[in-house]
């Protein structure tokens, strides 16, 4: 039985997207979120996203440092403008309204656009041949789990159920299978735009961390507590990516 490579790439991309939902699972075991726990959740999301950005930038500069920089500037600008637009509208996200809804929606935008770049990375790496396909799929699927954790850490304190957290985590990763296919078919073209995409993803995430998540964390928790959590999760995420 031979499936078309396009179907295989799409299916693998879908599997990695579904893995993102696993990031919501730890919240089955966390009950009753105090203000400090919410601040710690924001700190966890900050550390994971900073670590992921460092990993992305290290990869992107391998393809081209300047292209990554251009992508990063556009990524920061995109989220800056998006945040402005969201601020001027009355936003609802699920049953949440106001500032909480705005932060959730902004995070969804950030994590979804960053998945486009990851989808391109999946497709381009398959373009090198299908021999390593399974290893790549497992690596990216596992790497998506902490991203789901970062999303759930922001959504769960706003009153979303664990199932909803898992659902939105998966949604944020859906661009992966969608982008993987064209990137696989047009490897050479996409390899050239990959550093721009990687820079864009990193810029968007880093801006979200410094503009929204960290100030929120500092508001409810002692600085030392935030610093310990962010430092550990940042380094853990980077090490995690380096070894997969």
């Amino acid at each position: 039985m031979t499936a078309s490579p396009v179907v295989v790439v799409f299916t693998y991309g879908l599997v990695t997207a579904l893995a993102t939902g696993l990031g919501a699972l730890p919240f089955f075991f966390v009950r009753g979120l105090s203000a400090r726990a919410v601040a710690q959740a924001n700190a966890v999301a900050s550390g994971l996203m900073l670590g992921a950005s460092f990993g992305l930038v290290a990869e992107g500069t391998g393809f081209g440092a300047w292209q990554t920089l251009v992508g990063g500037v556009v990524g920061v600008g995109f989220i800056l403008v998006t945040a402005r637009i969201l601020r001027s509208h009355d936003i609802g996200f699920g049953h949440v309204r106001g500032i909480g809804a705005r932060r959730m929606l902004l995070l969804m935008v950030v994590m979804t656009v960053h998945s486009f770049a990851e989808g391109v990375a999946v497709g381009v790496s398959f373009g090198g041949g299908m021999a390593l396909a399974l290893a790549i799929v497992v690596a990216i699927a596992v790497h998506n789990i902490p991203e789901g954790l970062a999303i759930s850490a922001v959504l769960r304190p706003q009153g979303m159920s664990v199932a909803q957290c898992a659902w939105w985590s998966v949604v944020s990763s859906l661009p992966q299978p969608i982008m993987a296919v064209p990137a696989f078919l047009l490897v050479d073209a996409f390899r050239r735009i990959l550093p721009y995409g990687i820079g864009f993803a990193a810029g968007a995430m880093v801006f979200m961390v410094f503009e929204e998540l960290l100030p929120e964390a500092y508001g409810q928790e002692q600085r030392a507590g935030v610093a310990v959590t962010v430092t550990i999760t940042l380094v853990a995420m980077l090490v995690f990516q380096q070894y997969l």
């Binding site: 500069t61 440092a65 920061v76 801006f207 410094f210 960290l214 600085r223 935030v226 610093a227 962010v230």
Partner: protein, 243 residues
Amino acid sequence: MDPILLVLLYSSVAAAVAAVGAAPFLWRAQLRSEWVGWSNAVAAGLMLGAAYALMVTGVPRIPPSGVIGVLIGLVFINRLHAAAGTSEIDLNRLEQTSPEYGYQVLLINTFHAGSEGVAIGAAMSVSLPFGVFMALAIAVHNIPEGMVLTAILRGRDVRLGAAAGLVVATNVSQVLMAIVVYALVMAAPGLLPWALGFAVGSLVYLVLAELLPQCYRQAGPTSIALVTIVAMGIVILLAGVGT
């Protein structure tokens, strides 16, 4: 030149450059509070960029000993501040003039400089060009840090020359730690990942516990985020282009 003299030279230059932070006070009596926030955000961004370089450029992959080094650096700085009673101190309160606060601010700046010295010493042991790059990044970082410290000292009526001297003096620990770490790693090369990890853990912790939190109270989150990212991006770009 003997490599250890180069470490001495570059870490001394980085420490001395901190005095440049006193220069704006030649024509300005005091900084506006937003500028204090932005200065610390520049210092924070440069330090995060340096931590990125130590983690990504310094070694192909962080080994287990490096991870333990990160944890040691983190716990060490956290405990050091707990012992000194400076865990929750606000570093840029220009109006606060008690003698105790002045002593704590100088102490914290000395702690910071010590961690930066570990970063320079560890980077010098990776390779000379990487060490020079790290020393330059720390030197530039010392300028906004020196500017905030000068602002605090000026608020306490310390003469400008004396303030510049104190700013450099708090950075002497940087020279000392750079040389000690370099000598240790040269004697026992197995210590390198530990030293790199220690530098990363302590630098990232300092940024998040001390430099960033009060910035947000002095300037809006958008401007702080942009200033931090630009400073961090410059160091990351230079680290990426250089390797």
